[in-house]
């Protein structure tokens, strides 16, 4: 079974702090994704990566950056956390090409910014 793990299930940070959310997948997937999930807004793509050191902006990249130094690990960085970044963050991975049509999600990190 594909396993996608996220470093924290719950996280509480202060406004202005630098926040790192880590995601690791164990299936050698090329593609990795970061989403945020908010009530009524569904899943919104923040960034994705289709190879090591490659990244592309999703629909809502403002206020976020990412890092992918190793194939299995994809990090989401909030340079200066703000209260409007309080949300559920979901990481996902997939195979390339046609295999990319199925994404495997981690359990999510619920981030609260005070």
């Amino acid at each position: 079974d594909v396993k996608v793990t996220q470093s924290s299930r719950y996280l509480v940070k202060r406004t202005g702090e630098k926040v790192f959310l880590e995601c690791v997948q164990d299936m050698d997937h090329e593609n990795m994704f970061w989403y945020r999930q908010d009530p009524g807004l569904g899943l919104r793509l923040i960034y994705f990566s289709y190879d090591v050191k490659m990244k592309e902006k999703g629909d809502i990249p403002e206020g976020y950056s990412v890092s992918r130094e190793k194939k299995e690990r994809f990090s989401l960085i909030l340079e200066s956390a703000s209260t409007n970044q309080t949300s559920m963050y979901l990481c996902a991975s997939s195979l390339p090409g046609q295999g990319g049509s199925t994404q495997y999600f981690g359990p999510g990190t619920r981030l609260t910014v005070l």
Binding site: F33, G42, A92, P96, S101, G106, P107
Partner: protein, 112 residues
């Protein structure tokens, strides 16, 4: 621009009833339409999916109906059970796009 529109936003069904969730898409390049199921505290997981060359796909109590000309597809849950209570997302994927385009989700509650 919302490329996949999902309705309703929430749905309450009695045990044994039929749950129906609808989605509509705009981009004719989409060629794969999955549904994801998300239980509280979990990430979404693939439930069932369909390609546009068929009009219906059934897996147990879950059926996808697909209308290519109308650019619409729907999820039917027959004999709905309290254990089906979850958030359901439709999605669309196509061509060389690495990304799934998700609908906004439907919170389904099945009352015992």
């Amino acid at each position: 621009q919302q490329q996949v529109k999902q309705s309703p936003q929430s749905l309450i069904v009695q045990k044994g009833g039929i749950s129906i969730i609808n989605c509509a898409y705009e981009n004719t390049a989409f060629d794969y339409f999955p549904w994801y199921q998300q239980f509280p505290g979990k990430g979404p997981a693939l439930l069932i999916a369909i390609r546009p060359d068929v009009s219906e796909k059934k897996e147990g109590r879950f059926t996808i109906s697909f209308n290519k000309s109308a650019k619409q597809f729907s999820l039917h849950i027959m004999d709905s059970q309290p254990g089906d209570s979850a958030t359901y997302f439709c999605a669309a994927w196509g061509g060389s796009n690495y990304k799934l385009t998700f609908g906004k989700g439907t919170l389904l509650t099945v009352n015992p």
